[in-house]
């Protein structure tokens, strides 16, 4: 991973993004409520950087990915790619921009068209964006793509069903690379794979990033993989970002109670590891009717009166994290998160 990141103008900036899905029901099919899937989040990604969005099911992390791809219109906020707002862009202008942001999906079985040969799957983006000069150039590009994702060149005439899960995920990655993007959104791209295959794909993604200088928005619930891959982490809970921090400092000393609990809950492959385990009570509340104040207060082991009333804002902490927690307004002696202790040790 490149240690020197260009920290000037971000490649992608997301500002106060909201996506509310209307719920319809009743006799006349009117709107009876909303799912507050993403409710005001902001982050940016630099060129060549990996930002991971982590959180549990229903926290809105995949919705963020889809909003950045503009697979739907957002409710409020801005999505800015390299200085251009893409959330308000016309469809025709958007077509040119689409090349720069590509996606790799979770399920390698349903994300490839079973009626297209690998050749056609990979050639489609190249043709759509007019990247090849002529047929010879197209063939050269296709062969290169196969090499890049370490698939045999002669497999290019085959159909998706002839490949294993890991190989299909390589095809999915090659398809994303075919458009020569600046940013790839990996939505649980390795979650469905077996351990040994997962390692192959993780290594491939890391190599590609180093070679091509790609930025990655890595959406995942697997914290060990995230720690292995990422530069920075944003932790989401019920449609909000609760903490953003560089990787090492997040895993060393989380500054939000949810991050702390999440890290302590991951089983580690190390028998007898004595860890302080924080077991959260209950389930994640519904995003249709999120709790008042801090959304985490119903499960937070440190919640106090103010948490029920006041929504905490994402603010810088003393260690350079951004965290949305009222604990940091208390004197350090009363703040259990001021100790710099990793829940991993």
């Amino acid at each position: 991973m490149s240690a020197t990141l260009q920290m000037n103008a971000p490649l992608l900036r997301v500002d106060d993004l909201k996506k509310h899905f209307p719920l319809r029901g009743g006799l006349l099919g009117g709107v009876t409520g909303h799912v507050y899937a993403v409710d005001g989040i902001s982050f940016d990604i630099a060129k060549g950087e990996t930002l991971s969005l982590v959180g549990e099911s229903g926290c809105g992390k995949s919705t963020v990915g889809k909003a950045v791809l503009r697979l739907f219109d957002i409710t409020a906020g801005q999505v800015v790619l390299d200085g251009q707002r893409i959330d308000t862009m016309s469809q025709s202008a958007l077509r040119k921009i689409r090349r720069r942001v590509q996606v790799v999906f979770q399920d390698p079985f349903s994300s490839l068209n079973p009626r297209m040969r690998v050749k056609d799957i990979l050639a489609e983006p190249i043709r759509n964006f007019g990247l090849a000069k002529d047929n010879a150039d197209l063939d050269r590009r296709l062969a290169e793509l196969m090499d890049t994702v370490r698939l045999p060149r002669d497999a290019i005439g085959r159909w998706p069903h002839e490949f294993s899960g890991g190989q299909r995920q390589r095809i999915g990655i090659a398809r994303a690379l075919a458009a020569e993007p600046d940013l790839i959104i990996c939505d649980e791209a390795v979650s469905a794979l077996d351990v040994s295959v997962k390692a192959q794909i993780v290594n491939l993604l890391q190599d590609l990033q180093a070679k091509l200088g790609l930025a990655l928005l890595f959406i995942s619930h697997d914290l060990a993989i995230v720690e292995h891959m990422t530069h920075r982490v944003a932790v989401m809970y019920l449609g909000k970002i609760v903490e953003v921090a560089p990787r090492r400092s997040l895993f060393a000393a989380p500054k939000h109670p949810y991050t702390e609990a999440l890290l302590s809950a991951v089983p580690v492959p190390q028998p007898g590891a004595a860890r302080k385990r924080i077991i959260l009570k209950g389930d994640v509340p519904s995003p249709i009717n999120p709790p008042s104040g801090c959304r985490f207060h119903t499960r937070c082991p440190y919640a106090f009166d103010r948490c029920k009333l006041d929504e905490p804002l994402l603010k810088p902490t003393s260690t350079g994290h951004l965290a949305a927690c009222h604990l940091h307004d208390l004197p350090a002696v009363q703040n259990p998160l001021s100790r710099d202790v990793s829940p991993l040790h």
């Binding site: 549990e56 099911s57 060990a224 302590s264 492959p269």
Partner: protein
Amino acid sequence: MAEAPLLDVRNLQTHFRTPDGVNRAVDGLSFHVNAGETVAIVGESGCGKSVTSMSILRLIPEPPGKIAGEILFQGKDLLKLSDREMRAIRGNDVSMIFQEPMTSLNPVLTVGKQIGETLRLHQGLNKQQAEQKAVEMLKLVGIPAPERRVKEYPHQLSGGMRQRVMIAMALACNPKLLIADEPTTALDVTIQAQILDLMRDLKNTVGAAIVLITHDLGVVAEVAERVIVMYAGRKVEEAKVGDLFASPKHPYTQGLLGAVPKLGSSLTGDETRLSEIPGLVPSLKTRIEGCVFASRCPRATDLCRAVAPALEAKAPNHVAACHYSEKELLAA
């Protein structure tokens, strides 16, 4: 060990007839589980771990499946029992928790009815007694307001709660052996922590032996006492959990452990590239001569490709199916 094990599986072979040949899903697996012990079976998709668990309870449809070998439970061979005798054991002495809490509960029956069913069937309780016991079971697995929940349907519960209900059902008749097939795989991390915690607690109070089927090495490290590693339908290694993680003897196990990033790796400076296991699991439809792992093993020799290695003791209570010792593997 003086006492006979609770479960003793000997040379289990579960094969399926398919249009293009016989699939040897489990091929000559032997293992035992002592009373009160937690044994994990780990491996990747298609290694035969779930088929093993289904075979123990004889839940494999025959045909196309065929189970051979011996499955001795308290000295009785389950494969020789009549269907009726087998039904008296399922859900009673031996019970099972499945992966999908969404699909393994009946959506049109209340939770109480489903827990009560086993109690009425196996323990002859009447309707009121069964419902009362169901409430107790829900309380045991930590479901708040059990009196209300017992009358609810599965769709009214969250994923974590449904898995608790599954556990309550499985434990209702005080089983001696509980088979848990990927019990936390479908759950979120914080909910997984709750369920693993619950299983550990219950093990102490109920005292049932557990066979835990999983692909998650983290879960294995947290709950198991002994581990069996399966690959392509066979056992390739078995050891106490501490020994297995500290010094794996089979190249496959070594590869698996090296392929998982360790949480906290950025803090300890232990950031190595993940090790890859090249290639794919071989097809189980062709008979494999030699070691099942030879096609992917970085140290495979001609001997490995020709002769299947037997399980041999590599250390006290630690067996692996590899021709080579640890020293020889390191040298290669």
